[in-house]
């Protein structure tokens, strides 16, 4: 009994004590220290965009690092004499510097950096930076290493030497803001050189390579020093996830790279050393998010700008969000086309015409592209895409609409008159690719009526094997376009590197040579129209459609807009602003 009463008393004491204790509540420490106000302030000036892949290199010009995920980050971090404009065309960046053609023969260009243009560490942007860009992309500086056949390897790795390889060494001295550049051979795309992202901080490359005089080393082609420079240029800017190399990753644009959380996001902040129009939002965050997750992240306010790979279900998810999201649909700089193999049955121009007459181009666009881009149209040019300036002029000069809709009867008539009914047509493409399988099925449904025997010849190593070996009658694939003309040229000239179907027409060869030497950009469209006219009458290839693109942004943010070039959604992130919340 006594124990029991004592127990009860002890229990009562304990419980009561606890309640009394808990009653005398002290002040919570650190209440003022909560990050509410400060983090809210930062967040409101921060705009977050999503991209599917994680950044990997500050130097996007080397052959092994060049990738879209770097462009997304480096837009408006690294400047240049031009950048892709709203329509995907070449837009001069006059704040960075000016470009002036001073002579046509030899083609000579004067580049002038803005007087107050400096890297974000205060070092002026001038001659040495220009020299490095030229040297790195010219392919003229060889490594001491050789390949299996004993030929010296290129020292600097470059994702593209076109144009740079035709230049003579730039003329300038250390510290010069003005550079004279002449071409050994005339080059049509001279306006597309030294663009945004191509100019890197040469003083950092020199420092990293341990070379005192970069300009001297390059002009005298001191092979040991050039080797060191190339070594650093090729590998010194590759990123380790999570680490921002603040020493070397300098900025020459409105933003600079501030922080990087591995696997999650990279953050840009306004570059206080930028001399031109400052960025409108103090900070841009690029989060690495799978395309399928972007719509819901946008709906939940975690990102404000999304650019997923276009797909019908993603589009309908975005549309379901409602008024708080603006959706942009447009074209990308890539176009799908059918290439004839001129070493097979399609060497016969009549058969090509019969095939072109039965390919349901409008139906392919309606069924496969319009679900993701309601404004999609059939593409009628190989050099110009429908959103590009000059497209209508080129198409008007070369194509009369004869292949807009299939004409089965006409195709059948040609086949019957040639006695070619039942001609097998193997359509080759890289599989698996659902859209190309569907396109092939549509072509088969239409052309089999005309008397062809269309076969789906999708192969897993089509690019590696089938295309180069001519193992196809018709090849179905895409070229990436660009506002420049030089890339397309080799596709249609005799023996050209892209001429997989072995098409050959001396007239096209001659016109192409003329085009590549045409330094007056405005006159190029006329020549392109002439080339296209021949290509249409020969039916060298059949263009089908441009790839659709999809971008969406929260209406809390103003500024983001769709641009067809491969600069992705951040192309104009320096003009993004947050609307009042």
């Amino acid at each position: 009994m006594i124990t029991s009463r004592r127990t009860t008393a002890a229990l009562a004491f304990l419980a009561g004590g606890a309640l009394v204790l808990s009653g005398c509540s002290a002040d919570r420490g650190g209440e003022g220290g909560t990050g509410a106000s400060s983090s809210a302030g930062t967040t409101s000036a921060t705009i977050t965009a999503a991209h599917e892949q994680e950044f990997n290199s500050y130097n996007n010009n080397t052959a092994d690092q060049n990738a879209v995920q770097n462009v997304v980050v480096l837009n408006n971090v690294l400047g240049g004499f031009w950048d892709f404009g709203p329509d995907g065309g070449v837009l001069d960046e006059s704040e960075f510097g000016t470009v002036e053609k001073t002579s046509d023969d030899p083609l000579t260009i004067r580049y002038t950096f803005a007087d107050d243009a400096v890297w974000s560490d205060g070092e002026p942007i001038d001659c040495d930076d220009f020299m490095l860009t030229w040297a790195a992309n010219s392919g003229k500086f060889t490594s001491t290493e050789t390949d299996a056949e004993g030929n010296p390897l290129s020292g600097f790795s470059s994702a593209g030497t076109t144009g740079y390889e035709d230049m003579n060494a730039p003329q300038c001295a250390a510290g010069d803001k003005e550079v004279e550049l002449s071409y050994a051979t005339p080059f049509a795309d001279w306006a597309g050189m030294f663009g945004a992202g191509s100019i890197l901080p040469a003083h950092k490359v020199a420092q990293g390579a341990g070379v005192e005089d970069l300009i001297g080393a390059l002009t005298s082609n001191n092979s040991e020093q050039v080797n060191q420079l190339a070594q650093f240029y090729n590998t010194g800017f590759i990123g380790t996830p999570g680490t921002v190399d603040t020493d070397n990753w300098l900025s020459s644009g409105p933003y600079k790279i501030d922080s990087w959380q591995a696997g999650q996001s990279i953050t840009l902040v306004a570059n206080d050393q930028y001399w031109g129009t400052p960025a409108k939002a103090s900070s841009i965050v690029i989060r690495f998010i799978d395309a399928t997750a972007q719509a819901q992240a946008l709906a939940n306010g975690e990102i404000q700008v999304a650019r997923p790979q276009p797909a019908q279900d993603i589009l309908s998810q975005l549309q379901a969000i409602g008024d708080s999201v603006k959706i942009d649909q447009g074209d990308e700089y890539t176009f799908e086309h059918l290439d004839f193999n001129f070493e097979g049955a399609f060497a016969d121009a009549d058969l090509r015409r019969a095939f072109a007459l039965c390919v349901p181009r409008q139906q392919i666009v309606d069924n496969l592209i319009k679900p993701v881009n309601a404004d999609a149209t059939v593409l009628n040019s190989r050099y110009k895409l429908s959103f590009q300036e000059g497209y209508d002029q080129v198409v008007g000069a070369s194509y009369q609409g004869q292949y807009d809709q299939p004409d089965i009867a006409a195709a059948k008539q040609i086949l019957d008159s040639k006695g070619a009914a039942g001609t097998p047509v193997r359509i080759g493409y890289q599989s698996p690719n659902q859209r190309r399988t569907d396109a092939t099925a549509l072509i088969k449904a239409s052309c089999d009526q005309a008397g062809f025997d269309v076969q789906d010849a999708g192969q897993q190593d089509f690019f590696g094997g089938g295309l180069a070996n001519g193992n196809f009658d018709v090849a179905l694939f895409a070229w990436s376009g660009s506002p420049l003309v030089s890339g397309q040229a080799s596709t249609y000239v005799t023996g050209g590197g892209n001429n997989n179907g072995k098409y050959s027409n001396p007239q096209v060869d001659e016109l192409t040579t003329q085009l590549l030497a045409q330094t007056d950009v405005a006159a190029q469209d006329t020549t392109i129209g002439q080339i296209e006219s021949v290509l249409w009458s020969d039916l060298a290839t059949i263009p089908l459609f441009t790839f659709p693109g999809l971008q969406a942004n929260s209406t809390n943010v103003t500024g983001p807009s769709f641009q067809p070039a491969q600069s992705q959604q951040t192309w104009n992130d320096d003009t993004w602003t947050v609307a009042q919340q």
Partner: protein
């Protein structure tokens, strides 16, 4: 036993070589690693890009030779000079692997622990209430969860758990029909759990459950508890003392007054620590918090030992458990205190659908913890849903088997209380087979949760694997494979050893 482990390891090494070789061949032949480069229009540029990638990926070397190069690099780790190679852009794999592993562990460990705790608890109750409506309901739902396509469930969770929930938080009122439906469900749950032989008793259980649910919902709906949640000192104390009583009931039964006093004293120690540190915990560091936690447990254990009398051991255990519960409640209380500030900093949308944290988020320890938790909640729920089923089913059948053993009948016929029979004799033995499952599950989590990671934007082992496959790039895939395979092999051995230790009837030979 040493011989056993050595033999298992030797067999494993053979399996390991064969498996890595096959994996390497499969990945290397999964497609064309240069595919994305063929569309480059300029032939010179294309050739340069292809040459560069061919060089990095050694594509001119036969794939078998590449495998042995890779294997050589891996084996060199034995003398500290190893390498896992580079991916196709030339980045070294080791740091990538480290980051991926860290990210995966952060994501999956919490979910796995939650799945084990809830799965085992529900499985035990389900077994004890065999063939009741509760048992059938749990069986039904665990099979539903088990068969859910994860990508679909995850997308629905994001839609309702994050987007719709965040919208609702803007004006957190529970509509009346929803309230009624939830109350009915609560009543049914109470009936199935408590049971009762007569209709009157069942009716009482139903009413009790419904009223509790309704009351909680009304409070949530009418006060702004969700906007400014708090337990406060009173809440922590009341819940803590109640937990102390519950712990006593499980550990020794309420009749054991010594243990009850010790358990309550442990709770009081926890409450004292909570109240006295309110002034200094505004923005603590993790070591400080952990130190405080350990100190509290030691103090509670001491007090329990002191008042425990002849039943010292059990009293101390009950006291420590009670103090731990109070500490957990205090932690939750602090998080609740930081909640309003966190919600406003996330612009009123706290629950996240992607990523492991808000980029560049800074704040007190409580706020950053909240930030992690709001990002963890949906992927964790997704993962728990999947593994919940196997834990409940496994535990349930194991428990049922144990309950039918002769020694349980003997214990009952000795006149032991049902609590003692279940907690001491049945429960512990029922857990032995479950340990195997736990070990294997931990091995599986190192491999990551490929789909969950992808959908919720965590770049862990899963994305290392899947991106490697997509880009036909063997080194990242092999890094993933080595770690995942090693975890499975090792934890299999561990599972066998633990099993033999827990169940003396089993001998390793």
């Amino acid at each position: 036993m040493v011989a056993y482990v050595l033999r298992r390891l030797l067999i494993s090494i053979g399996v390991f070589f064969v498996a890595t070789f096959m994996m390497y061949l499969l990945v290397a032949n999964a497609g064309d690693p240069l595919e994305d480069l063929y569309g480059i229009t300029d032939p010179g540029d294309r050739a340069a890009r292809i040459a560069s990638r061919t060089e990095i990926m050694q594509l001119n070397t036969p794939v078998v030779e590449r495998y042995f190069d890779w294997l050589g690099g891996l084996l060199s780790f034995l003398w500290g000079q190893g390498t896992l190679g580079v991916n196709r852009t030339g980045q070294a794999i080791e740091p990538l692997l480290g980051l991926a592993l860290g990210s995966t562990l952060r994501l999956v460990v919490l979910a796995t622990v939650l799945a084990i705790v809830t799965g085992v608890a529900v499985g035990i109750v389900s077994a004890l209430r065999q063939y009741t409506s509760f048992d059938y309901t749990i069986t039904f739902f665990s099979f539903v969860f088990f068969s859910l396509p994860i990508f679909w469930a995850a997308v629905l969770l994001k839609q309702f758990g994050a987007i719709a929930f965040n919208d609702w938080l803007g004006d957190p009122v529970v509509p009346l029909p929803v309230m009624v439906v939830l109350a009915v469900l609560g009543g049914l749950l109470a009936v199935s759990l408590v049971g009762g032989r007569t209709w009157a008793r069942r009716g009482a259980s139903f009413a009790g459950g419904a009223v509790v649910v309704l009351g909680v919902l009304l409070v949530l709906s009418q006060t702004d508890f969700l906007a400014r949640p708090t337990l406060g000192p009173a809440g922590v104390s009341v819940l803590g003392l109640a937990a102390a009583v519950g712990i006593t009931a499980l550990v020794s039964g309420l009749a054991n007054r010594r243990v009850l006093i010790a358990s309550l004293a442990g709770a009081v120690v926890g409450i004292i620590v909570y109240v006295s540190t309110v002034g200094v915990l505004g923005d603590p560091t993790w070591p400080f918090l952990i130190g405080l936690f350990v100190l509290t447990l030691v103090l509670a254990g001491g007090v329990g030992f002191g008042v425990g009398g002849i039943d010292r051991g059990r009293a101390a255990r009950a006291a420590v458990l009670s103090a731990a519960v109070v500490a957990a409640l205090s932690f939750v209380d602090w998080l609740m205190f930081a909640w309003p500030a966190y919600v406003s900093s996330s612009l009123g949308r706290p629950i996240a659908t992607i990523g492991s944290n808000t980029p560049n988020f800074t704040g007190t320890l409580w706020e950053t913890t909240l930030d992690s938790l709001t990002h963890l909640v949906l992927p964790s729920v997704t993962l728990v849903l999947i593994s919940f089923a196997q834990y409940t089913r496994y535990t349930r059948s194991s428990m049922l088997e144990t309950m039918n053993q002769d020694y349980v009948r003997t214990a009952r016929s000795k006149g032991l209380t049902e609590r003692t029979v279940i907690m001491r004799h049945a429960f512990r033995n029922a857990l032995i087979p479950v340990t195997t499952l736990v070990a294997l599950d931990f091995a599986a989590i190192v491999g990551g949760a490929v789909i969950t990671e992808r959908i919720f934007g965590w770049r862990g082992m899963g994305s290392l694997f899947i991106e490697g496959i997509y880009t036909v790039d063997p080194p990242p895939v092999m890094a993933f494979f080595v770690v995942a395979a090693a975890a499975v092999l090792l934890l299999n051995i561990v599972a066998d050893l633990v099993y033999a230790y827990l169940d003396p009837r089993i001998r390793l030979s």
